[in-house]
């Protein structure tokens, strides 16, 4: 059966026979459901899809996907994905990780997977806490956060994940929210369509150890006013009455009200996902409630050759250059350099 004759797959085809074992009410259920719903979009056979995860609550996701899955070790999923994709460019590789897994123990690998542009779609569940180990501070916990390991409050400045991956040259950067299911599905779809290293941060609620971490701006009752849904080529407008906007004053973003002080839509910052310079991506990534609405959507999407493409290109080039000199002979390779014969 060729790729073009694939039967139409549904969410059901991507559900494994394993019981899902996250805490009732966990945001991960929604992420799993959107992942299973999105998979048929790509027209890729199930056996060609691989989910690789690290350690943490998020790391369980591959067990629930009826694809190939590899639940690896803490922080290292990106390294295994790098090797797999290099060896097997034909596969579609997803990496499932969390804020501790990707930003703390796996921070180095995250940076290098992004700069290499490994063709992997990384979904980072950010709940600002260590859930699996029962509630310690994570690299995204806000200063002052009291946890079991920081009883007087953490004294460490949190990482802004999207700012970090923008600095690491990620070619696709996006953010969504676990409960905003339609938006999350759209972001997964966009990440899956991207060729290269895609990083999708999902603001996820851990209802046991850090309940309501994002509620201030993600809650239905306030999200219109406190979040900014990015749309490519469109001015940044938000608010229940669609009358607020973001204006860029030099490199400083400002919240303005349309129709006040002579501000019109034409003054607003127009979002450009494809801006080759990541400076504006970083400015966007640093916008945060309550000073700004929290942006969600695709921050950045730039074309760049992937690691596996470049690797194969080099090999093909070297093979072609070598072929011009005659066939490659392993026996000759072994006998390269100065040789002599003993009679």
């Amino acid at each position: 059966m060729t790729q073009s004759e694939l039967p139409v797959l549904t969410k059901k085809d991507f559900e494994s026979d394993q019981d899902v074992r996250w805490c009732p009410g966990c945001g991960d259920y929604s992420i799993l459901a959107q992942t299973q719903k999105t998979m048929p979009d790509f027209g890729v056979a199930k056996e060609k899809i691989v989910f690789i995860s690290g350690i943490g609550c998020s790391g369980r996701l591959p067990y629930y996907m009826n694809t190939f899955g590899f639940h690896t070790i803490h922080g290292r999923a990106a390294t295994i994905a790098t090797g797999l994709k290099a060896a097997r460019p034909d596969l579609m590789v997803w990496v499932i990780t969390g804020d501790g897994d990707a930003l703390s123990i796996g921070g180095n690998h995250l940076i290098h997977a992004m700069r290499r542009n490994v063709d992997m779609k990384m979904i980072m569940f950010n709940n600002r806490i260590y859930g699996l180990t029962k509630g310690q501070a994570s690299p995204t916990s806000p200063i002052g956060k009291k946890t079991k390991s920081t009883p007087l409050g953490t004294i460490e400045t949190p990482i802004i994940p999207l700012n970090l991956v923008a600095a690491a040259e990620a070619s696709f950067i996006a953010r969504s929210v676990d409960t905003h299911s339609e938006h999350l599905q759209e972001m997964m779809h966009r990440a899956g369509e991207h060729s290269g290293a895609a990083f999708l941060e999902v603001l996820q609620n851990c209802n046991i150890f850090n309940d309501g971490a994002w509620r201030d701006f993600t809650d239905k009752s306030v999200k219109e006013d406190r979040m900014l849904v990015l749309k490519h080529g469109e001015p940044m407008i938000f608010g229940a009455e669609k009358n607020k906007g973001i204006r860029l004053n030099g490199l400083r973003p400002e919240v303005v009200t349309i129709g006040e002080n002579g501000v019109s839509v034409a003054d607003l910052w127009v979002h450009d996902e494809t801006d080759p310079d990541a400076t504006r991506t970083q400015i966007l990534s640093r916008m945060w409630w309550p000073d700004f609405p929290v942006p969600v959507g695709v921050f950045r999407r730039v074309p760049r050759p992937t690691h596996d493409q470049l690797l194969v290109e080099q090999i093909d080039g070297a093979k072609a250059a070598r072929a011009a000199k005659g066939p490659v002979d392993l026996q000759k390779l072994l006998a390269s350099g100065e040789t002599w014969t003993v009679e």
Binding site: Y63, T72, T79, G83
Partner: protein
């Protein structure tokens, strides 16, 4: 007798074996000089063995003691196994090189010095209070004083090069002298110069002139009363090349890829003394070999595991400190039962230790350095050329038994060289294994084992019907799903151990050199092979009942080893560590093996093993058995 240009006669002295050490500042090109002399000597047909000895600092301060770089070569008309205990001739390019190496020289040995480097500043840097060339402190040796810098300056006149550039050619002058002294041809080095400096005519010409000037100096001067002839050795027939352990390792993996009919993927983080394997395999893009220079040691083995998961020959190369970092991922490879080869080119430790110096200190780490019971096969080549065979053997075991394998080389094997009888690829047996076939319908069991080897199927992504999940969590027997069942965990632990233990069924019988029973067995592994073999040859020549067994498969140990140990009165185990294999041997066979352990970052000298063996043997008379 030969006649030199001034009509005087010079004698030729026949020798069986000569050991030369080239020593100079790290910037003096001693490694190059040594390897050029080695290549020519191997081409000439002598058996050769070499030991490079260089500082970890790329360029320690010029003229200082830590900056001394050396290269020792031993060559012979007979079969030799080591680069020689003590040099017969020392080429010292500066006072520091003399100071560092003089104690090793045999009494009455030859010293060839570049007198131009023996100035007040260099003498002070080397810590000499008076000039050793003038204070008679070297009178127990044959001292040859040659103003090499002056000679190359004269030889290269008119080439339009700076005096600094010309000074750089003095190592080729020294090489020329040695070529003359030992009746070697300059042709191979001349060819090398032409290729290396293609397009840089002046540099090529300067090096060529320096080489010829050295040779002519030997020929015409009255300084050397004799030159030496070391006849070609009688090696088995076939085509040979000279090869270092790292080169042989890299070629072994390329060949394993061919024999397994699978792509080779190497991810590695640069580390001395393993990096050359990464460099060499990275230059084989035209063979389809994929390499990645990873961001760290963990990423390197992670990528290798990922490639193995995808069905390639995934591997990584490192040295001790990197090996320590790979422990957790090795444990994952044990749990998910994927084939993987990890090369540890051991160096002196602990910690950063002495990066360019050899040691055998990572054996127990390879065996046990992971959380919980996590059995991994370990193999170890014994000589530089054998690195080729054992690289293939590592992959054979990994593939047939679906397991990670540790391949333990060391700095001495990695950088040492010897002649290699080039094998015929067509004669090498296949090590091919099949992927699990596509399936229709549910019910695929990723942990259903081969009844003979207990290997699980290699179910690579992309195979329809085999969608399944693996990971570091304990697996339910056969089904491979996550299991916390106590009895299942116990059973899986036993299965993992038994799978590795069964490898013993297809590893070869232990060869014993010398007596296969008697007073003393010397048991070794890895790069101590040459020193032990030579010591046993000498002991037996004196009528001692001694045997030598050398272990290539450390886990599992050969099936016949226990019985062999029983046949000897005493067992001596020389190791360049505190007794790591000895600990395993004693615990497994309850044999009171005696250790001989030196950790100086250097190989054993033959004489040291010989003396230790003698101390364990009775009076030097034939004992009837």
């Amino acid at each position: 007798m030969t006649t030199n240009k001034s009509g005087e006669q010079q004698s030729i002295t026949e020798l069986d074996r000569v050991t030369i050490r080239f020593a100079g500042d790290s910037g003096d090109g001693m490694q190059l000089t040594g390897s050029q002399f080695t290549a020519t000597t191997a081409l000439f047909g002598n058996d050769v063995s070499t030991l490079p000895d260089f500082p970890a600092e790329i360029r320690a301060p010029a003229g200082s003691l830590p900056g001394v770089s050396g290269f020792q070569i031993s060559f012979s008309s007979g079969d030799i196994h080591t680069p020689g205990d003590r040099p017969d001739v020392l080429v010292a390019m500066n006072p520091a090189a003399l100071k560092v190496n003089i104690a090793d020289l045999v009494p009455g040995g030859g010293i060839i010095v570049n007198t131009d480097a023996f100035n007040e500043i260099n003498l002070r840097k080397a810590g000499y209070e008076s000039d050793p060339l003038k204070d008679r402190s070297l009178q127990g040796y044959n001292l040859y004083e040659i103003p090499m810098s002056t000679m190359v300056a004269n030889a290269c006149e008119g080439l339009g090069m700076t005096s600094k550039q010309i000074e750089l050619t003095k190592n080729f002058f020294a090489l020329g002298v040695m070529f003359w002294l030992y009746e070697r041809s300059m042709a191979a080095t001349e060819k090398w110069i032409a290729e290396k400096f293609a397009g840089k005519d002046a540099v090529a010409e300067a090096n060529r002139r320096a080489l010829h000037a050295g040779y002519a100096f030997g020929e015409t001067t009255e300084m050397f009363h004799t030159h030496y002839r070391v006849a070609p050795a009688h090696l088995p027939p076939g085509m040979y090349r000279n090869i270092t352990g790292n080169e042989a390792t890299a070629l072994g993996f390329v060949t394993a890829s061919r024999l397994a009919e699978r792509d080779l993927f190497l991810a590695s983080y640069p580390i001395t003394p393993a990096s050359d394997i990464l460099h060499q395999l990275s230059s084989y893009k035209h063979l389809g070999i994929k390499t990645v220079q990873s961001e760290d040691e963990i990423a390197a083995i992670g990528a290798a595991v990922g490639a193995a998961y995808g069905g390639a020959l995934g591997m990584t190369t490192t040295s001790g400190p990197g090996m320590a970092l790979k422990a957790e991922m090795l444990g994952l490879a044990v749990m998910v039962e994927l084939p993987l080869v990890v090369v540890d080119v051991q160096r002196a430790g602990p910690s950063t230790g002495m990066p360019t110096k050899t040691e055998q200190g990572d054996l127990l780490m390879s065996m046990f350095g992971r959380n919980s019971d996590s059995p991994i096969p370990v193999v170890a080549p014994a000589t530089p050329a054998e690195c080729f065979t054992m690289a293939i053997e590592a992959w054979r075991i990994a593939l047939k038994h679906m397991t990670p394998v540790v391949y333990l080389s060391d700095a001495f094997l990695a950088t040492g060289a010897e002649p290699w009888l080039i094998p015929q690829v067509a004669d090498l047996p296949s090590i091919k294994v099949e992927n699990a076939p596509a399936a229709t319908g549910p019910g695929f069991r990723p942990y259903k084992r081969d009844p003979e080897t207990l290997a699980r199927p290699w179910a690579v992504p992309g195979t329809p019907g085999l969608e399944h999940r693996i990971g570091g969590l304990e697996k339910l027997d056969e089904l491979g799903t996550v299991s916390y069942d106590p009895d299942n965990h116990h059973r899986m632990n036993l299965l993992r151990a038994e799978k590795v233990a069964r490898i013993v069924r297809d590893i070869p019988a232990t060869e014993i050199y010398g007596d296969d029973r008697g007073e003393l067995l010397i048991l070794g592994w890895g790069s101590t092979y040459g020193s032990i073999r030579s010591a046993v040859e000498r002991l037996r020549a004196r009528g001692r009942k001694v045997g030598h067994a050398h272990i290539r498969h450390i886990n599992p140990l050969p099936g016949d080893l226990g019985e062999i140990l029983q046949r000897f009165d005493k067992v001596l185990m020389p190791e360049l560590n505190a007794g790591q294999l000895r600990m395993l041997i004693r615990s497994k066979y309850l044999v009171d093996a005696i250790g001989f352990n030196l950790v100086r970052g250097k190989p054993f000298q033959i004489g040291e093993i010989e003396a230790k063996a003698e101390s364990l043997l009775g009076e030097s008379v034939e004992v009837a058995k």
